[in-house]
Symmetry: none
Subunit: 194 residues, 2 copies
């Protein structure tokens, strides 16, 4: 019973993983993929409380529908226009609906931060990098619809640490400025300590 149960648990894990990866899979496809019958999949979904295809699809879809009207739902953290690892980069972000403060057309600060942070991590010359700390200034409020152009420069580098400066402008007006300390990691470091 041990291996059986194990194999069942493993299948459950795998099932969740697959549906996580692609919620649009039918029971039939899942059954084929996991080498069990369709009924087993249904049993699994039942015990795991996983909703059927229709529900999954619908919940995804309604996320799209509500995405724009709800307080904070960030779609993108900017489009990477240019990225020269170790040197600098450029990112563009249009301040959209859903990034704004309720009732006012001012964009919430963390969207500026997100754009800058993404850019800073991207330009750090390493396969995998994380932000360790940051000092940021929100110089001027940003309004709905404005185009945010963030420019990053790597201004310091030693071993595993890079210091990246990001300046974001709307047209010629500086709206944000930040210094990011980005550290680069090895894979084992990322995986270590559960």
């Amino acid at each position: 019973m041990k291996e059986k149960r194990l194999s069942k648990n493993l299948r459950h894990q795998e099932l969740v993983k697959r549906l996580d990866g692609n919620p649009l899979l039918t029971d039939e496809e899942l059954a084929k993929g996991l080498g069990v019958s369709i009924q087993t999949i249904r049993l699994d979904r039942l015990t795991l409380g996983l909703p059927e295809l229709k529900e999954r699809t619908k919940s995804l879809a309604s996320r799209v529908l509500s995405a724009d009207s709800y307080p904070a739902s960030l779609e993108v953290v900017g489009e990477l226009l240019l990225c020269e690892p170790g040197i600098g980069g450029l990112s563009r972000l249009v301040a959209g609906e859903g990034m704004r403060l309720t009732r006012y057309n001012v964009i919430r600060g963390h969207f500026l931060f997100a754009q800058a942070n993404s850019l800073a991590v991207a330009v750090a010359d390493a396969p995998h990098a994380l932000t360790a700390s940051a000092q940021v200034d929100f110089i001027h409020p940003v309004k709905l619809g404005q185009v945010l152009l963030a420019r990053a420069r790597v201004i310091g580098k030693e071993r595993r640490k890079s210091i990246v400066e990001v300046i974001t402008k709307v047209k010629e007006q500086e709206v944000f400025r930040g210094k990011f300390l980005v550290i680069t990691l090895e894979e084992n470091q990322l995986m270590a300590e559960e």
Copy 2:
């Protein structure tokens, strides 16, 4: 025959408009809404080339999926558990899918920032507040599924400025710490300068 055709055309227009507004309507709901039979709606959809509910839902859903694989997609910036304006507050955020760095289970820094920033703005004792600057440290990587508890304290206040300190923990492990300078605004200031 003119009015009839017109009324049919009008219905077609209305149909398209409704589906545009809410693609998740069933034929039945549409039929009721437009005061015709379900068969008529189906005929209409046929002649207008409008896909059935399943298709519409699916296409919306896959829009989400493709958006998710793109740089980053932020869902929430935390659930406000407690908020004592001018004093402090507490916010909870579960590190979900789509917040993580590609391929690794580490959550991107700006989600921590977003949670903390939202909280800092919320606890600033003012109807409308904005972050002016911040100093943040990402002390420890956060993994998928972990629960982020952010605690904010207002540690300084003068006229329009509040200084808020936010400390975020996963269980007892401190993972993020930041100081936010939050300024409060009058409505006219928010509205000024287009």
